[in-house]
């Protein structure tokens, strides 16, 4: 990966990219509850209780254990580290799109909003695939922007 921020060495950019990838992997705990010990499952369930409806019909199960978050949040949290991992592949394009960050976020939020609104305001129901895919699109973009922001952050803004 080239060093996009001329102030930083490639090693520092790589280290920060790794840190961003590791940090964005932490919420995955919400997704892999089925692989955890029961007391940890219960802890993760309670941690994500205020931020997700945790409805059985709208959540995946792993190992016969329902995930602590719904399909959409599952998509967001699972795609966050994937987005961060993508940075080396798209690093050169990211410099060009830097000024478009707000638009990119809006574009990433739109499918999620449309999918939710169609389900909430009309009689058409969304599906697990649509919820997962729209959540993953937002997670992927967020992870990528997060990793890019951290990897190329100068030490001080002047």
């Amino acid at each position: 990966m080239k060093s996009p921020a001329h102030l930083l060495s490639p090693t520092r950019v790589r280290t920060r990219w790794w840190l961003a990838t590791v940090a964005s992997s932490i919420p995955i705990a919400a997704v892999i509850g089925g692989l955890m010990q029961p007391h940890l499952q219960a802890l993760v369930w309670l941690v994500f209780d205020p931020t997700c409806h945790q409805l059985g019909a709208r959540s995946f199960s792993l190992n016969g254990v329902q995930a602590a978050v719904c399909h959409r949040c599952f998509g967001i949290y699972a795609a966050l580290p994937l987005g961060a991992m993508l940075l080396p592949v798209v690093a050169s394009s990211m410099r060009r799109f830097h000024r478009w960050t707000p638009i990119l976020i809006l574009i990433a939020l739109t499918p999620m909003g449309v999918d939710w609104a169609v389900d909430f305001f009309t009689t058409i129901s969304n599906t697990p695939v649509s919820r997962l895919a729209t959540g993953a699109a937002f997670g992927l973009v967020s992870g990528l922007l997060f990793a890019h922001a951290l990897a190329t952050s100068p030490a001080h803004r002047t």
Partner: protein, 164 residues
Amino acid sequence: MSSRFQSALLAGVAAGVVSSLLGAAQVPILTACLSCLIIIGSGALAVWHYTNTYDTSVTPGQGAGMGAIAGGVAALVAGLLALLLVAFGVLPGMGESLREGFQQGAGGLDPDQEEALIGFFESPVGIFVVTVVSALFYAVIAAIGGAIGANVFRGESTNRREDI
């Protein structure tokens, strides 16, 4: 207290209060989806408040730090308000939530073990553990919003300087 910390504190309190009020409103899908975005957004809100108030900008690293503080504070505020709402009977307690989780397949434990776990998480120590772990998780999630927010929100003077 530094002004960056103040902005993070303000955003965290706002996010915690709004998240709790939405939780109390009990509109299942609307409430939950918004709560998730509110935690991510609290980091961006902290950066927006700071850059807007002081007409300056922050590095994404500083934004992530501000977001982490905002997320942690949001978890603590939401935790405290949740205790109040549970006390007034507006929200179900942790034990109730966990019972629902066990009914939906979490744990795979026998009933005695489930009750022991529910008893632990309803105790002051259990509530403290859940609050601290929530603060850590929310800090990470909000840090993502903060870092992205640093790229989105910049003071007017910074934008003018960078346009030259």
